[in-house]
């Protein structure tokens, strides 16, 4: 016999779908089928069942081979590494739960480390802009029920957040949007003709790296001021026409992604987009929301912010929290050779950082806590496999609109395997003893 677990939360992207159905074996040890999730989410659930999974911590030997060690030995190694380091970097956090992040922050405080989450290479620039000028935002439920003007700027949810459009932004029939897609006008701004752009009522195929100019041009158009003939490859008449479409809605939302946060102008792009949202509120109701990537990167920002006062790139080396991306951000720390130990959890900088930064990880003492074998575990000295959060253990996570949702455990982890929270607690206890702060 098998049993079906309903209303399961998908631990893949920031959309944090909460309607997944999972079929498990009667003893709860095997995960058999996944329904309702997108193809990436399904894979994430099924990957927990793969036969080649690493189930024991592995320490790199001098000849390059791995040696299996116990969790106790791994915790000892990690605590010693953090106690010895003069400037350790604790990076990741976006694919684990808030409870583990809390213990991680306690470790960072004792170790006087730099801590950062994946926003550093994703929506960190958004957080800078939010601190600069604020964020008029809403929840995804409001988008579903009210939004009749949808703007996707520099993002491609068709591939990166596959169920975002069907659950919230384009297709669903909401309270005031009874005709679903027919009730909405979709504007996509992207230099590429993406699958999202193909669905758009208006696709502005902007010149690469000119988002800041186009956003400014929209603000100028809303004020009815002079515009040059062409801005960012788009004709002025077209800009004024689209500005009118935006104004004519009852409720609009700007979703933006890494096409603007990590291209030329970075935080200034978001700054200008938020300013445009504020301007549009003089005509009708508008909100703006970042398309957060990892399922709990938002939660990591929340936990950092309520414990340290800053949402990412926090430097605790002097015993108090400092924050200045450019100085305290992971890639800068690595590229400039500022750190002497690397602790990675719940993310894969090996696959996403510039290769020169990854080479730096390989040079220093390093620990990688991850259920998967990744490029990061490949360059780390110690790899600690853990239970899949959201599959083999529950815990609190935040959706991209800052709504907290509790993930659920649906299947047992392999025997003897620790969760992030359990392993971090072991490290924390040992580190406190080493530092004499128990």
């Amino acid at each position: 016999m098998t049993k079906v677990i309903t209303d399961v939360i998908c631990p893949f992207c920031g959309t944090l779908c909460d309607d997944v159905e999972v079929t498990v074996s009667d003893d709860g040890k095997k995960l058999l089928e996944v329904a309702n999730a997108c193809v990436i989410g399904t894979e994430k659930f099924l990957h927990s069942q793969s036969s080649d999974r690493v189930t024991k911590p592995r320490l790199r030997q001098e000849d390059g081979s791995w040696k299996d060690i116990s969790y106790e030995e791994a915790a000892d190694y990690t605590a010693k590494l953090l106690a010895k380091a003069r400037k350790p970097l604790m990076y990741g956090w976006s694919s684990t739960n808030c409870e583990a992040q809390c213990v991680g922050n306690e470790i960072a405080e004792v170790a006087k480390a730099c801590c950062d989450n994946t926003a550093a290479v994703c929506h960190g620039t958004t957080l800078i802009a939010v601190q600069d000028i604020g964020l008029p935002s809403c929840t995804l439920g409001e988008v579903k029920n009210r939004a009749d003007r949808i703007i996707f700027w520099g993002c491609n949810p068709a591939h990166a957040h596959p169920r975002h459009m069907s659950r919230y932004s384009i297709f669903p029939r909401g309270f005031f949007t009874g005709k679903g897609q027919m009730s909405r006008k979709l504007v996509v701004v992207d230099p590429r003709c993406t699958d999202t752009a193909k669905m758009a009522d208006v696709h502005l195929q902007i010149e690469q790296g000119r988002d800041y100019e186009l956003l400014d041009a929209f603000r100028v158009a809303l004020k009815g001021e002079w515009l040059p003939d062409v801005v960012a490859g788009i004709h002025a008449e077209k800009i004024r026409e689209v500005a009118d479409i935006l104004k004519s809605g009852r409720f609009g939302i700007i979703f933006f992604g890494m096409g603007v946060t990590q291209s030329l102008s970075k935080n200034h792009n978001i700054d200008a987009a938020i300013a445009l949202t504020k301007d549009l509120n003089e005509h009708t109701k508008y909100s703006i929301m970042p398309m957060r990537g990892h399922y709990n990167v938002t939660g990591s920002g929340e936990v950092f912010a309520w414990q340290f006062g800053f949402p990412y790139s926090v430097d605790l080396t002097r015993g108090f929290a400092r924050y200045n991306p450019g100085d305290s951000s992971s890639i800068d720390l690595l590229l400039r050779g500022e750190i002497d130990a690397m602790f990675t959890i719940g993310s894969d900088p090996g696959a996403h950082f510039p290769i020169s930064a990854v080479k730096q990880i390989a040079k220093v003492d390093s620990v990688c806590i991850d259920p998967h074998m990744t490029p990061t575990s490949g360059v780390s000295k110690l790899h600690v496999p853990v239970a899949f959060n959201g599959v083999e253990t529950g815990g609190n996570c935040y959706r991209m609109d800052n709504v907290p949702i509790d993930c659920r455990k649906v299947v047992e982890p392999p025997e003897g395997m620790k969760t992030d929270l359990e392993f971090l607690t072991m490290v924390c206890d040992r580190l406190k003893k080493l530092k004499g702060v128990a």
Binding site: A85, I128, E225, P228, E338
Partner: protein
């Protein structure tokens, strides 16, 4: 004026945070006392004397103190941090936050300096004979008050985000400038003798940009407003005048709207 010379003897393995290298911290101390001033390498507290050879005694006040930094200070942050008077000469390159929050005195860097130089500067004079990094004379993260007074001269090039949130003071760059100059500025003046890339004066409320070279891409929010003759450093020249950023909010003075000004040499 008394001169204290500090010479790098042990280059830090990581980076050194040495906000104590300023005439204000040195004032009234002899060489031995200066060598005891605290610095940080990562999370390890240490003393200035561990990294630098200190010779000479400081004057009684900051105004009577001159500091000469010799040797490789490429990995030293915060030189001239919050200085209010006196003089600092860095003979080679230095890292981030050179002259950050400085209020007075003169700081000369003979080599390149890193990012965040003259962050939120209020007064005094900063001369960078090499190149400046990003965020020169800008606001600190999250602050809306950038440089508000004093003078900066960069003989080489400057990075991006020069004069972000600038409120007053003057920056002159003899070389070229990367993207974003005076973003969100509400006052002050930036003169660029070389070329600039793009996004000059984005979201600018007030202030002045004068550029002698080319601009790759103009901000659409800057509207042509005729031609004017300006005198810069004693030489007169004709400039095309633009006002903006038209997309941004603007203050009113005596009934007239005040815009940011951009002058481009013809």
């Amino acid at each position: 004026m008394e001169t204290v010379t500090i010479t790098m003897k042990n280059v830090p393995a990581l980076y050194l945070e040495a906000e104590t290298i300023s005439p204000d911290a040195f004032a009234g101390k002899n060489a031995a006392q200066i060598a005891e001033l605290p610095v940080f390498e990562g999370n390890v507290p240490s003393t200035l004397g561990k990294y630098f050879e200190v010779s000479g005694n400081a004057g009684a006040t900051a105004a009577d103190t001159k500091i000469v930094v010799k040797g490789d200070a490429k990995k030293v942050k915060y030189i001239g941090f919050k200085m209010t008077a006196g003089e600092v000469v860095i003979e080679g390159p230095a890292d981030q936050y050179v002259g950050a929050w400085m209020k007075g005195g003169k700081l000369t860097a003979k080599g390149d300096v890193g990012a965040f130089a003259a962050t939120a500067m209020k007064g005094g004079e900063l001369v960078i004979e090499g190149n400046a990094g990003n965020y020169l004379g800008a606001a600190y993260r999250g602050d809306w008050r950038g440089m508000s007074g004093g003078k900066i001269l960069v003989m080489g090039n400057a990075g991006s985000d020069t004069g972000m949130y600038m409120l007053g003071g003057e920056i002159t760059i003899n070389g070229n400038c990367d993207v974003h100059v005076m973003t969100h500025a509400e006052g002050g003046k930036v003169t660029i003798k070389g070329n600039a890339k793009s996004k000059l004066g984005g979201q600018m409320v007030d202030g002045t940009i004068i550029i002698f070279g080319n601009i790759d891409v103009m901000m659409p929010g800057f509207k042509p407003n005729g031609e004017v003759e300006l005198e810069v450093d004693g030489a007169k020249a004709k400039f095309a005048h633009f006002i903006g950023d038209m997309g941004e909010r603007h203050k009113k003075k005596k009934g007239a709207i005040v815009y940011g000004n951009l002058y481009k040499k013809i």
